[in-house]
């Protein structure tokens, strides 16, 4: 067969060859975009959209009501939190996120955080700080013990000369100028918590059964003395939602998961229309029982992961030294009294029957709107423990602190965590944090954070993020806002070569 020279080919064949090669190059490019052979990739989102723009890799910024759509060249966040999805062609092991922004935030909203959704049932967001103006100010008024770009330890007065001196005392549960130990004068912010709670000497505990029903997900700390311990839970499914609910209880010791059990709810054909605050509705779905042997007295963390369709009917523990953390949602609880050391609490309800008065110490507050948070402040500065009395049932309480019931003994399981209400004139003398202040670049601030993607929730090639500005609420005029100019995500994972080698080794 005689092969003619290329220049003698008919025009259509020449064009087909050229287009064919071009198509091949495009397919190779798509392969590289999908597989990311080097294991590293970088994605950027700016708000300078034009007609030709593609969907992009960072999308679904929601809910729309918390964004001002009139702003075209940046993302204007007027209420929090705001969620978004990050599309990746494959899974990676870590990500570095750099955000360029400017803020027009009031003094009451000094904190900006970015969170990554972690895997599992009712996954939580792992929040990390982008900006904390309180700490940025404290850096200039308090003395720095450690400031190495990762860890920041500040002291109100110059007592410790270096990090080693401080760590030596801290690890033994004592600090200078701190009568009650670190719990009474140290404040944490995004700090890798290696603090170990130490119970007082001759700590006596007794078993307790909490019959106060709670709704949805909760977390509590329980201190067990040396010896046998047990925890029993009873659950009820309200059957308001379709599908089977799953309840999971995880128990941690020193941040290590030591026990975990699941329970599956019901999926009945007939469902209840709405939640009844007065009459117990739904069906019991069973119990979970845990027990163990504590070699020495220790603090256990218990997570109950469940949807709002699940009621925790009762909790039985071998120790009454038990406090709930951060969230408390009692039901069938008219007239309930609880204790907390937190000075600020946020309350909310989803049922009109739960609207009514709430008493915090001597102060009276009126919860008169559903689906709207009401901030309570304990005015009595001298009181260590504040008493909250709920006139009506079904009020969701959120706080930065701990809650004890009348049957349980209050104790502070962890040092105080800094929030937007932190006051430098308060009782704290030490601040421990993993925080780096944002850098200034012309009219913007730039902050970077690193996340481990291995335990993140990857749903159909999407990672979920949240931008949180505690206290930023919808107001008329929208003068208080956060403007995001650019988001850059640099991801890293196994390269193609490493994947091939590990595949061969298998």
């Amino acid at each position: 067969m005689k092969i003619t020279k290329f220049k003698n080919w008919p025009l259509n064949l020449k064009l087909r060859l050229v287009f064919g090669v071009f198509l091949l190059v495009i397919l190779v490019l798509i392969f590289c975009l999908k597989v990311v052979p080097s294991g590293k990739a970088s994605y950027k989102k700016t708000w300078t959209n034009n007609f030709f723009s593609a969907r992009g890799t960072m999308l679904d910024f929601r809910p729309g009501i918390r964004l001002d759509s009139k702003a075209k060249s940046y993302l204007k966040i007027i209420a929090e939190p705001v969620y978004f999805n990050f599309y990746t062609p494959r899974s990676f092991s870590k990500a570095k996120i750099t955000i360029k922004y400017f803020d027009n935030l009031a003094e009451a909203t000094p904190i900006i955080e970015l969170g990554l959704l972690k895997g599992g049932l009712n996954g939580n967001y792992e929040l990390k700080p982008l900006q904390n103006k309180i700490i940025d100010d404290l850096k200039f008024s308090w003395d720095r013990i450690v400031d190495d770009g990762e860890t920041l330890i500040l002291q109100r007065e110059k007592i410790y000369n270096n990090g080693l001196e401080f760590s030596a005392d801290f690890s033994e549960g004592r600090l200078e100028n701190c009568v009650g130990g670190p719990l009474s004068c140290a404040v944490f912010y995004n700090y890798n918590n290696d603090y170990k709670y130490q119970a007082p000497a001759n700590n006596l505990t007794r078993s307790v059964k909490i019959n106060q029903a709670l709704r949805g997900e909760h977390q509590f700390f329980n201190y067990f003395n040396q010896g046998k311990w047990f925890l029993n839970f009873d659950f009820r499914d309200l059957n308001l939602n379709s599908g089977q609910e799953i309840v999971k209880v995880n128990i941690y010791l020193d941040n290590n998961l030591i026990a975990s059990q699941n329970l599956t709810g019901l999926d009945l054909a007939t469902r209840n229309d709405s939640f009844d605050n007065e009459n117990r509705q739904g069906t019991s779905i069973g119990e979970l029982r845990f027990s163990g042997l504590a070699e020495k007295g220790a603090l256990y963390k218990v997570e109950i992961k469940a949807g709002n369709d699940i009621i925790i009917e009762s909790i039985e523990s071998s120790s009454d030294q038990l406090v709930f953390a951060n969230k408390f949602w009692p039901v069938y609880s008219e007239g309930l009294k609880i204790s907390t050391e937190a000075k600020f609490l946020s309350v909310k309800t989803f049922e009109t029957e739960s609207l009514g008065s709430i008493f915090l110490n001597e102060g009276k507050f009126e919860l008169d709107k559903t689906y709207s948070s009401l901030l309570l402040e304990a005015k009595d500065e001298e009181k260590y423990l504040n008493e909250l009395k709920l006139e009506k049932s079904g009020v969701l309480i959120e706080l930065n602190g701990f809650i004890a019931l009348p049957d349980t003994k209050f104790f502070k399981a962890l040092p105080e965590k800094m929030d937007r209400f932190f006051s430098a004139s308060g009782s704290a003398s030490y601040l421990l944090s993993n925080y780096k202040s944002p850098k200034k670049e012309k009219n913007y601030k730039v902050a970077s954070l690193e996340f481990d993607l291995n335990s993140a929730y990857l749903n159909n090639n999407y990672y979920s993020f949240v931008i949180s500005v505690p206290g930023l609420e919808l107001t008329e005029g929208g003068e208080n806002y956060l403007g995001i100019k650019e988001i850059k995500i640099e991801v890293e994972g196994r390269s193609l070569g490493e994947k091939i080698i590990s595949f061969i080794k298998k």
Binding site: L11, F19, I30, L33, F52, A54, R55, Y87
Partner: protein, 68 residues
């Protein structure tokens, strides 16, 4: 505007026809790959504009065929 001579018109017809075939394969491949690769193509390329380009080239090709 300078009128094209017959040979140039013929070359243009062939080019448009081959470009149309190429775009047809490209558009079909991109749409299928976008489904298979769960949105990878549409993350980088506005597929609606590519489809619009394909339609325009198809119309031009049809016009050339009609003029024959």
């Amino acid at each position: 505007m300078k009128k094209l001579n017959e040979k140039q018109k013929e070359i243009l017809k062939i080019f448009v026809r081959e470009f149309f075939y190429f775009l047809s394969i490209l558009v079909a491949a991109f749409f299928i790959l976008d489904i298979v690769l769960k949105g990878l193509i549409s993350a980088y390329l506005n597929l609606n504009l590519l489809f619009l380009l394909w339609l325009i080239i198809a119309l031009i090709d049809l016009r050339f065929k009609a003029k024959k």
